[in-house]
Symmetry: C3
Subunit: 339 residues, 3 copies
């Protein structure tokens, strides 16, 4: 039992640094299970209600897999048209009913604030899997967890980190949440690289400054110099007022191996919230980076499973029991290898 037991996970704001370090400690301990060196049946018989009122294949499957890896079952709902919400049912009523069908709920919904509203009617803990433009706390946590692990691999830690965030910093929910989480740490250097139209919102800037962090704002990719982490996001052309305006930035923030070699220090880790657009004209993150060992984008996705396993285990109060219910893996696997 801990401060997490029985509680909702709605926002990154509910966590202090100690809480985050507890989550990461448990997430780290989940790796042998995710890599199939062993398995656990600690949640055998428990049921996750995986409610994706807004579709999102990878977040949905990542939650479901995390629960299965702990031994539990998953009952799933995708889409909204078929749901009672469409007939005027309140989120409170929906929660009251659906929380009778599971031990814990992971929920995504297109409307900001909906998951918190739902959680008030729920009789079981609710994990926010994204509520529109508002919050996606497990994404923010897996991003920070990835940063921590990548830095540790290079002998560093989050305190003192230099992170460059690139692209659409205005509408990109992930960079907002990640920035807020980093405000719990010390001596961070933020380099924010974006067109002026897509600059980081003022409230995030203020939070960074109030935390006493160093801030550099530029619209030149060259600003990435010396960053430990380069967090790339997608620029969507429809965000600009005119095609001419968009064209000015076309390819400006593109990353590929030759740009990496020219502008980045040799250990800069590349992150991206995925999916990346791999079409020729995307100018985002080229496939020739796939063989660069510092490309961490797929490790991010793997880390998402660990973080979600940790949140399930903590919320259901079984984090200390996981290893007690350990079992052997008898089937073929090569998941012990790193990406």
């Amino acid at each position: 039992m801990s401060q997490f037991t029985g509680n909702h996970v709605l926002s990154v704001n509910q966590f202090d640094r100690d809480a985050i370090e507890k989550i990461f400690h448990v997430a780290h301990s989940m790796e042998p299970y995710a890599r199939r060196q062993k398995r656990t049946t600690v949640l055998d018989g428990a049921i996750l209600g995986n409610l994706f009122f807004e579709p999102s294949t990878r977040t949905r499957v990542s939650f479901g897999t995390a629960f299965n890896l702990l031994g539990g079952e998953v009952r799933e709902t995708t889409g909204m048209s078929s749901s009672a919400l469409a007939k005027g049912e309140s989120l409170f009523d929906t929660a009251r009913v659906l929380s009778g069908y599971s031990d814990i709920i992971a929920m995504r919904h297109p409307q900001a604030g909906s998951v918190a509203e739902f959680s008030e009617g729920s009789r079981v803990p609710v994990l926010n899997g994204g509520d529109g433009a508002n919050e996606h706390p497990t994404q923010a946590l897996l991003d920070l967890f990835t940063i921590k692990r990548e830095l540790e691999y290079n002998g560093k830690q989050i305190d003192g980190l230099h992170i460059a965030m690139i692209g659409d910093l205005r509408y990109g929910r992930t960079v907002h949440s990640l920035s807020k989480l980093l405000c719990l740490y010390k001596n961070i250097h933020f380099t924010l690289i974006s067109p002026k139209e897509l600059a980081m919102p003022d409230n995030v800037i203020s939070a960074i400054e109030n935390a006493g962090h160093k801030l550099t704002v530029t619209n030149q990719i060259e600003g990435v110099v010396n960053a430990d982490i380069c967090y790339q996001t997608r620029i969507q052309e429809e965000r600009f007022t005119s095609q001419a305006e968009a064209n000015k930035y076309r390819g400006r923030f593109r990353l590929n191996q030759s740009i990496y070699t020219r502008h980045f220090q040799s250990k800069t880790v590349i992150m991206h919230p995925l999916p990346r657009d791999s079409r020729m004209e995307a100018n985002e993150l080229d496939n020739d980076l796939n063989s660069n060992p510092n490309l961490a984008i797929f490790r991010q996705a793997d880390n998402g499973v660990l973080v979600r396993m940790a949140l399930f285990a903590l919320t259901l109060g079984v984090d200390d029991l996981v290893s007690k219910y350990e079992r052997e893996v008898v089937w073929y696997t090569n998941k012990s290898q790193s990406l």
Copy 2:
């Protein structure tokens, strides 16, 4: 092994009073598992084919959860466009094939009679989860089970019950099935409250009268006086010939706390098949009733899981084995509390 073992559940008409009491006895014994005081693995390895050719989130998840709570696995199909039925396959063929993929099937389909037709091709027992305007036997059973439990809580029993049914009694499938089930009991007083346009169909009225029950028909909500149970349904305005006609009834059957206090005896239990429309203009069942302990609508939904667990256990002949395969629940839960 019982009369249920290996048989389909297609209609409430197939049960006599003894059969219903057997189902309710088993449903009651399922409560400690649903409330997570303990769990069972009796159906570990069994597979439910959950075939929802017509979408219905809560009925689908309720069946799936009930099967998981008994230890089984669920393979699910939702919607019809992708199915072979759309290519001219007969329900017999579909059943022949799909029944090879599971040990038992729960099925919903928009067409009346479809589930019975399907069951003729099926090699495993089929539970009807609703076939259009025809039948939805698990809903009728959970309604009656709820009535029984609510009455028992107040020291009463089904025999001698006074039930008021309110709203759309013409098109509301649930009140038809419930009325038929109540014809198996003694000395029921039915008070039917609806606009004339939405009156209870003649065949249900005849069944009530033939069973020797007392019948009061009115279009005034005040008729609810002294009822033990008030079963509220939704009135859909499009059922009326004109807007002027609909307006005459607008709000007439609305329930809220002040109407309850004015017209109801203090222990009248409020039921509703859900979802309820919680939008301001709905005039159905106001949210201020949520703190009224006699509002049983969410207990109804919880009871649905118990009734479906009972039908699975009886149909698969394991009702006597459930407790033999009992296990401890090791994760956090507060489901032992009542709603």
Copy 3:
């Protein structure tokens, strides 16, 4: 551990006769589990990623059930609109991410070659569940497995088989794959019965001839005389250049009990890839054949589960462990009976 362990199953072309006989040997050993004489927990804790980017109810459920029957869990994705593929993500990226969520993947996708492309990014074995017009290897294997079992029941074997293939031999993917597999065997007599417009493609004809098999080509159903197996496919009228042309063949290849009695030897086995069109005007495979014991179409579907169980067990290297993890079936079942 065998040649199968850890490898993808993308095409029937990757198997030689020994490999196929190994698969069939394991598939045969799965029957007591599928028929519920016993069950196994060998894959307890393993996760199948069941990725149906193109919907196909029965293939999807058959894969999922096969995995459940071995004790494993299933995480499922259906449809493509909600997927990152729609946002320009490459199949390589999708595979990189999704393969982190399971131990093995079954995948269907509308585009030829897509599953092979996906498999290059996957970190776990991928089983092709159909990639457009290209391949559907588990269907070809279950067809051949059915032929083997039906022949054995009649005291024969695949070598020396006389098979008649009827209907649309041009576009019917199943007859192409099955023909290629039969080229691994000896002394097969192929009778190909189709309108000229829908004749077997030249490359398949060449393969049959190069294997030294006997070939008869006709457009008369009477050619089926003495066949051991009659493999019927659907003729779609839109394949013809004109309605007049289509009308010439309308009903020409229809099978019903009276045609069977007139033209077929008494033990000719009827197969069909399903679904069959049971509407009156379909002229395909009439329902009056349902009581003919040689109608093997539903045994085909059941055999699909066995073949998929075998491929899972072989690919995950547990084929020798299945019986070690045997458990009793405690629920009611009548699946021990044959169809």
